[in-house]
Symmetry: D2
Subunit: 150 residues, 4 copies
């Protein structure tokens, strides 16, 4: 962690920021908890996020994975130093979702973790479960970290 | 096409349905045109669909690809007979998005096509461009068609 | 497991079969252990499986994942009944490899597991480590099981 | 192209190198033709590259795509300058194969192209057909170019 940031203070600010994010509100997305290299996020989808047959849209599930993986990066040194301090960029290069079971009722919780944090290439994985603990989807992403100093 | 449907009439009904779809409205998503095995869809994202830095959320781009590929299936015989008439299911098994360039301004248009339509497994691909004709993202999906008669 | 097979006897036969498989011999591939829904396989690559710079070819790593996932299916009821007894088919629909670290020296071990075994669609994952226990690659696959009786 | 290389001479040297590559010989792999950002490669698989049921192993098809995409990079400026002259690295980050049809007889030809060549991230795609012109597999890859000067 960058010396300039107290981890607790940083987390409070990031959490408050997530609560106010307009897109997260639009998607009923809540950041439950997070730390360096992991996050737990949740969507309790209202009717508008569902297909006529009641199942949640694939794009909503993709959004939960994409947001969860980004959230898992925010408290890492690599993000705080490379992106925040040195004005670099973190971009998603590739996102993949494997849909295991339709999400028909209740909320879904997504656990995300950074599985490989290289200097330039980052690999992350997510797993989404429904309220009964059944697997709903698996996700993974490749991100690219472009710092100004390299 | 199923003998019971006039293609023009079917297309009109499906297009009207897409215009009224609550989730499409939420995501500023418009179905421009479509036919058996292809579609052209568009998102003109308002501010709420963007990150604080102005780029469109990855989940919005994933939504455009997911919706475009589903739309490309609707007028196929396989969908109209297997799903509509015989009460089968079409589900997305796998969705992948390769992000090529941040989507910072204007609208984005997605061309989707079904590249392989097997009896049970369907492969589809999408390409998204911005208003300057630059590639923004590539997508592909694997769908599973489960008809009651098989 | 099909009632007609003793699991120990089945495993012995499958293991002997893997040892004799010409393609496995060509790729220096050894099946270490396996059971229903999991396998552990290994490649100790000779020079011919390496690039001029000494790193193992990406196709060799893909082969290890593909073989490991198939091996993880062989002792499942779904395979023994659906494919062996009922003359169905198991095919790989999609295979993905995420390369985390070049494989420059020693052997690599691949743990594969079936993470979702639906009636028609199967999701599997693999992780490859080098002899120092470092992650070399992650893999996943989607398989389709087509039994004659459905 | 780097000023120090004559393209025709470079191509001759690269083609001769591919013909002698031990792994390509092991996999019956032939580089038919190539240029900056594209390649055409072919595998005429002998019996040892096939499953007992006669279909070509998935790892062989993955090898053809991986090799074809790498070959499509060799004559680009980015490779010749960034990797050859400046002693940088080109690595495959992600490889995906979508299997459309079993490869049961004859040879298969793979067309590969670089679809997006960024400064650090490269996206490539391949399509494999059998001798009847039927699609056998689709592939894509993400590569990372790490030059010493950046």
């Amino acid at each position: 962690m960058s010396k300039r940031h107290d981890p607790d203070e940083l987390k409070r600010k990031l959490h408050a920021f997530a609560k106010e994010a307009p897109f997260f509100q639009l998607m009923d997305l809540e950041v439950l908890d997070f730390g360096p290299r992991w996050s737990q996020c949740r969507i309790s989808p209202r009717q508008q996020l569902r297909n006529p047959n009641g199942s949640v849209h694939g794009g909503v599930i993709a959004t939960l994975i994409d947001a969860g993986i980004t959230q898992a990066m925010l408290m890492t040194d690599e993000y705080q130093v490379g992106v925040r301090e040195e004005k670099g960029f973190l971009t998603t290069v590739d996102l993949r979702i494997r849909y295991l079971r339709p999400m028909t009722a209740g909320a879904m919780t997504c656990e995300s973790k950074i599985v490989h944090l290289g200097r330039r290439i980052i690999h992350a994985s997510s797993a989404i479960q429904n309220d009964e603990g059944q697997d709903v989807a698996l996700g993974d992403a490749i991100l690219s970290l472009i710092s100004r100093s390299t």
